[in-house]
Amino acid sequence: MNVGVVGAGDVGSAVVELAEAYGHAVTGFADSRSAVVDADGIDVASALSTKRTEGTVGSGDPEAVLDAEYDVLVEATPTTLGDAEPGFSHVRTALERDRHVVLANKGPIAERYGDVRELEAESAGSVRFEATVGGAIPVISTIEGFGTSRVDSLHGVLNGTANFVLSRMSAEGLDYEHVLAEAQDLGVAEADPTFDVDGTDTALKGVIVANLLFDGEYSIEDASVDGIQALPGTLLELAREDGQTIRLLAEVRNGSVRVSPRLVPVESPVAPTGTHNAVQLDIENAGQMNLSGRGAGGVETASAVLTDIGRLSGKQTKR
């Protein structure tokens, strides 16, 4: 497959770097300021090295990649709330050209699910978004595999930064501020970790799952969200004395999405340590199903993107 990639952060760059190993050619690559396009495949090494040294991927207009020759457009620009732009317009352009779209950006599928599905219905292309929930973990394809109507609920940890903070606080008896600063030093938390610790990122993932399970047009406005900011260390201590711990959980059940710090047994399958994610699905006839693994990281998330591209290449475009 020929792949166009919009977004040159950790995920977009890793997709470009790994595409060849998965049997695909990158025909276009853009960051917010520049682009490189070549119908025969771009020079990946050169584009990535220019990104590192100059901060741009090439000399072209970033919009050029949208009109380039590709079978699949990978949308890996940063997640935005509300109108989900510019990601949503990228999705629209590709679908209107009857091309497939693979999203790593949560915005379009969390905030404008109905609009995306409408565009998809009109297009010969399909939309996939495995990478938006749980990084490398196949949450979306597991749900689709069993059938969205047979999955009753999902709950679990979907944000590695918040999980790192809570598990360190619990293991070391350290304060929230201390552990958060440490996470930033380690690069586990971003300079502005607001969306990770206030539950927004987890909620977006919960909303995406709700859109699948309940076939609805959920957005972040429909989620009840409570974060872990300034959680007192004494709470984790009291939990530990009782053989329990606290995790920031997403709960998608009975048509609702809820994100909140919750008390769970230490040995619970939804109490991973460090930056890992873990979810439990309740599936008709199959029972409880646990999935866990790496929920973030450029290469890990790129692996989910490339798996989606693989699924799309298994079926011909409808055109």
Binding site: H155, L231, P232, T234, L235, A239, D242, Q244, I246, L263
Partner: protein, 177 residues
């Protein structure tokens, strides 16, 4: 007193005791003092609960109002009443609270939970590292009647919101909470 209240009936009490000498005797005293007739005691020494308590099953004969007094007296001691007669406090529920617990009348907070009549507080642990006027945290363990967890949690949520306390709820899975 109604007629029914003077009829002696037999009741089963399920208790959890701290694993310390004298605890069994201490737990039986209120039964004798409040006019209950002890029928049998089953002390499951080999079967310690995850938190290190020892389960005890006591069969007792008493009038309904005397039995109520026995349960009240037991609840005031260190004894966890898991089941009293037909009132089955079978499900355990633990929550964490933090905030100005002491300044917002902690005993009132606990009474409000008990008022749901579906929960009985069985264990409390408070951590106030900076003294009682600063932020403190508490772990509250309750025995709830089966099927009433959501009702009890709703009541706790209401108290927490009113008193501006941070509540950490347990994960309650399954449709039969």
């Amino acid at each position: 007193m109604s007629e029914a209240d003077s009829t002696v009936q037999s009741y089963t009490l399920r208790l959890e005791l701290v694993d310390e000498p004298g605890e069994l005797l201490r737990s039986l005293q209120p039964i004798a003092e409040k006019g209950g007739n002890l029928l049998s005691i089953f002390h499951e020494r080999g079967n310690v609960t995850p938190r290190g308590y020892i389960p005890v099953v006591v069969d007792v004969e008493a009038t309904p109002d005397r039995f109520e007094k026995i349960v009240d007296a037991l609840s005031r001691t260190n004894v966890n009443v898991i089941q009293a007669g037909t009132e089955r406090y079978s499900q355990e529920l633990t929550v964490l609270l933090s905030g100005h617990l002491i300044n917002t009348d902690f005993s009132n907070t606990l009474s409000r939970i008990q008022e749901t009549r579906s929960a009985t507080v069985t264990d409390i642990s408070i951590s106030a590292p900076q003294g009682s006027t600063e932020i403190s945290s508490a772990r509250i363990r309750m025995a709830t009647q089966s099927g009433s967890k959501n009702e009890v949690l709703a009541a706790i949520r209401e108290v927490a919101e009113e008193k501006d306390l941070r509540l950490v709820e347990p994960l309650v899975t399954g449709g039969h909470a």
